[in-house]
Structure formats: structure tokens, C-alpha cells
């Protein structure tokens, strides 16, 4: 039950975050420092999520089939594959490596 409350609270805060942007006067965005923080924060969060999803298993660092998914997705992105193709490439790479016996 308590997880339900965290889910609903996170949903409410997610919506209020989005809405708050619409309530801010547009000129605030012109401040270069705020724009920069927003930009670096987004990059940092996405890089961190990529790392966590590749190497973390709880509090353990592991090298498993997901590293293959990361490399395959990187190659697909270098070849300018569209988003969905990159995601499929990542899944196929991980699935094939597991089929080959990798954890």
C-alpha cells in the first residue's frame, strides 16, 4: 500500500513540475545560467541512468550482457539508426549474449 502512495505522489509532483513551467514568465528562460543548469542537468541525469542501467545490480557493479547492449546501441547510433531501431538493437544484443551463456 505504501508503494501506491509513493507512485501517486510522484505522479502529482511530475504533473505539477510540467505545469509550473507554463506558469513561469517566458523571460526567466533568457537567463543564461538557468538555461545552462537545465542543459547540464538533463545530460548528467541521462548519462547517469545509462550507467546505472548498464552496470548496476542493486549496490553491486556487474559486467553482464547489458554492456553488449550498450556497445551495440552505440554502434547503431553512430550509423544514425532511428530511436526505435536503437532500442531493438540493444534488446537483441542482450538477448543473443544471454543465449550464448553470458549472465
Amino acid at each position: 500500500m505504501s508503494l501506491w502512495w509513493w507512485i501517486l505522489a510522484a505522479c502529482v509532483v511530475a504533473y505539477l513540475s510540467k505545469l509550473s513551467g507554463y506558469l513561469v514568465p517566458a523571460r526567466i528562460l533568457d537567463k543564461p545560467r538557468m538555461g545552462r543548469v537545465a542543459g547540464t542537468l538533463t545530460i548528467g541525469l541521462l548519462a547517469s541512468l545509462t550507467a546505472v542501467n548498464t552496470f548496476a545490480n542493486g549496490q553491486e557493479l556487474v559486467l553482464d550482457a547489458r554492456i553488449g547492449a550498450l556497445l551495440a546501441a552505440g554502434i547503431a547510433l553512430l550509423l544514425r539508426a532511428p530511436f526505435l531501431a536503437v532500442v531493438i538493437v540493444g534488446a537483441v544484443a542482450a538477448a543473443l549474449l544471454r543465449l550464448a551463456g553470458m549472465p
Binding site: 513551467g21 506558469l23 528562460l29 548496476a56
Partner: protein, 226 residues
């Protein structure tokens, strides 16, 4: 220009299909991480911002507390504030449309809208991508949550590899110059170093702090825009 010939609508539709289908992965992973069917459906319908949703179930899957999942999801949603500000000044929705626009303000709808040339195309791109993704994302979340059990272990199907690839693909277009690459590498390294020492979910917050400080004290002219 006719609606059906609008480049913004075409872009919006292709992004909607690409992103919406990925909902099947979210649905399956959410159920695999221990969430119930309705909890999974609620996240896609009510939270509706992919990165935060994956962060939430990622923390839960790693054994993290609900509070840590809430924190990770909320921090990832902070960028939507910036998107809301951008869309408010570009698409200029009014009244109830503002409340509706807020709910579908995500990476993809904003990205589709900001590259358009005029107000009408901005609006078409934003709403086509936003509503298109909302419908497909929720339909495929349900499919994934239902199929998740039938599929067995999602790892055997490489669904955790799909999540890795999706985050890299979201990050990729932002790595256009040297500074963003440096930020990404530093934050990824900070994350990996933090994993063994702090509870799941917290490494992401540490990386966010590093990135935020970097942006705050960064030199003028560092163009690392969202």
C-alpha cells in the same frame, strides 16, 4: 498547408510510433520489477514521462525504497519544467489547453515542436507527438504489463538491454559538442563510483548534483542546452 501534408505532423507521428511502442518494454519491466498491473498503468497514465517512469521502477527493481524511487523520478522530471517554459512561450496555449499541454510536455513533444518554423507548425508538432505518444504509450504499457508475465524473465528477451539502449539514444543527440560529452562522462563515472556505497537511486542524484554545479559555475558560452 493542409494538416496531412504538414512536416511537423509527420515528424510527430513517427516519433509517436517509435516512442509509443516502447511502452511495451516499460509495461513488462515494471511488472518484472515488482509493481502490480494497476500501479504500472497508473504510472503511464498519470506520470507520463518515460525517463521518470523508468527511474521509478529502476529503483524499485534494485530493491530501493519507495521514497528513493519518488526522489529519482522527481529529479528526472525537473527538465520538464524547462520544457513547459519553452512550450509556453512557443506554442502559447491558453485556458484548459494549458493544463492539457502540461500533461503531454515531454522530451519528444518538445523536441518535435521546437524545431518548427511557425506557430501553427509548432502547435501541430507538439500536439501530434504529445497526444500520439500518450495514446500509444498507454496502450503498449497495458500490453507489456499483460505480456510481461507470459514472457517469463524479461532479461531473456533483452528488455534490460532495451532500457540501456533507450537511455543512450535519449542522451546521444545532446552530445553534440565537447562540453556535453565531458559532462556525460564525468556523471557516468560518478554514478558508477557511487553505486557500491549508497542505496539504489542515490547515485543518480549525486550525478545530478555534479551536473547542476557544472552548469551553475560553467563559463559563459558553454552551450549545453536541453
Amino acid at each position: 498547408m493542409k494538416f496531412s501534408q504538414s512536416p511537423a505532423v509527420k515528424t510527430g507521428l513517427s516519433i509517436a510510433v517509435a516512442t509509443g511502442l516502447y511502452g511495451i518494454s516499460f509495461g513488462a519491466l515494471a511488472v518484472a520489477s515488482g509493481l502490480g498491473f494497476w500501479q504500472t498503468v497508473a504510472l503511464s497514465a498519470l506520470m507520463f514521462t518515460g525517463g521518470s517512469q523508468f527511474a521509478f521502477i529502476g529503483v524499485v527493481a534494485g530493491g530501493g525504497a519507495g521514497s528513493a524511487a519518488f526522489g529519482a523520478a522527481t529529479l528526472l522530471g525537473i527538465r520538464n519544467i524547462i520544457y513547459g517554459m519553452q512550450m509556453n512561450s512557443m506554442a502559447r496555449p491558453t485556458g484548459w489547453r494549458k493544463a492539457a499541454a502540461a500533461h503531454v510536455t515531454i522530451d519528444e513533444s518538445t523536441a518535435t515542436a521546437v524545431v518548427q518554423e511557425d506557430l501553427r507548425e509548432v502547435r501541430r508538432g507538439f500536439w501530434t507527438a504529445g497526444l500520439g505518444i500518450f495514446i500509444l504509450w498507454n496502450l503498449f504499457t497495458v500490453a507489456g504489463a499483460l505480456l510481461g508475465d507470459a514472457l517469463g524473465d524479461p532479461k531473456a528477451w533483452g528488455l534490460d538491454g532495451a532500457a540501456v539502449a533507450a537511455f543512450l539514444a535519449l542522451l546521444w543527440p545532446r552530445l553534440a559538442s565537447r562540453d556535453p560529452v565531458a559532462i556525460a562522462v564525468v556523471c557516468a563515472v560518478a554514478t558508477v563510483l557511487a553505486v557500491p556505497f549508497v542505496p539504489p537511486g542515490v547515485p543518480i542524484l549525486i550525478a545530478a548534483l555534479v551536473a547542476g554545479v557544472w552548469g551553475w559555475i560553467g563559463h559563459q558560452g558553454n552551450q549545453a542546452r536541453a
